[in-house]
Symmetry: C2
Subunit: 161 residues, 2 copies
DNA sequence: CATCGGAATGTTATACTATTACGCCCTTGC
DNA sequence: GCAAGGGCGTAATAGTATAACATTCCGATG
């Protein structure tokens, strides 16, 4: 299952993207008085560098290229920190992690995932967020820092079906 | 992570529940000319017996109690069949499986999952389904046999936060 | 200065989840 | 009979995640 990072046509300034995410993270961590250590920052960069969800062991390999090898717990701990800070989401359907644009409260990440080819698209839909929030709260759930994964068939995969 | 199957107060006729699910499955498989073998039926029963999502290896253990031991592939194959038939959903957030009430097309299972304690509640919300379907189709996704997982904090876990 | 304590990371081993690859048996249709 | 395919058994292994313990660093405190 290789990452088809060239799949989408849109090319954007990815370095800028990463830099922006990291400096926002630095600002946020300073404000909250938690420390964005070099390791954590490195993991955040790696997560942002590809625009697609990335597996923990891929991150591990990436770090291993430049540093002494580290073990899985090191990466998982960094990811846990980043998730708690709202800087990263875990995509359960892919066992993978992806950067979050809006580490601020009240945002719910929404992912559309093709059940067949695993392609992922992020949604940003206020109406949907509102609907989900209402429904959730009616059932005794609070939605801060929530995440939604929607599994469906993408058009490409639906062709011959 | 043990299954707190006694958590919810509501007691209902579970045997009846299982029986109904199985006979609906039989009917469906006959109609579609696929075979609900004894093993597959057994897995389906086990999935339905607890009302909560159950892990593949738990199913494995359950089968092992009554039969000669079988290996993981046996269980995963049965689960794959049941998923394709729409009789079972996989809950990615839990690496677990749960029976589906509506194996018919067009239904989208929706699960609310507490990010902290992993408690699960199934939602049935036509409006939400419609909103999701619209949004998905606008982005090139078809929603048949879809599933939605919503991760949020349940009230119990939100108390001290 | 000494040292205590906590946070972060390193290290080893292991648990848990899932799949690959191969072989057997049985049924169905020729 | 026997070829073909479906379903299952079995062994090995891949992929994902965590437990448990050791180490290092650094700031606070006496």
């Amino acid at each position: 299952m290789s990452k088809a990072s060239g799949r989408s046509g849109r090319r954007h300034d990815h370095d800028g993207c990463v830099r922006r995410a990291v400096s926002a993270a630095e600002e946020l961590c300073t404000r909250r008085q938690v420390s964005l250590t070099p390791l954590r920052k490195r993991v955040l960069e790696i997560v942002w560098r590809g625009h697609e969800p990335i597996g923990a062991y891929e991150i591990l390999a990436e770090i291993g290229k430049a540093r002494e090898k580290v073990g899985p717990p090191t990466v998982y701990r960094a990811l846990e920190f980043l998730q708690n800070a709202g800087l990263v989401h875990r995509v359960d359907a892919l066992n993978a992690f992806v950067g979050c644009d809006h580490p601020d409260e009240g945002h719910a990440a929404q992912f559309l995932i093709c059940s067949k080819c695993r392609r992922v698209t992020e949604i940003e839909d206020a109406g949907l967020t509102r609907a989900l929030r209402e429904r959730a709260s009616a059932l005794g759930f609070r939605f801060e820092r929530g995440a939604v994964e929607i599994k469906a068939l993408c058009d490409d995969c639906a062709v011959g079906v």
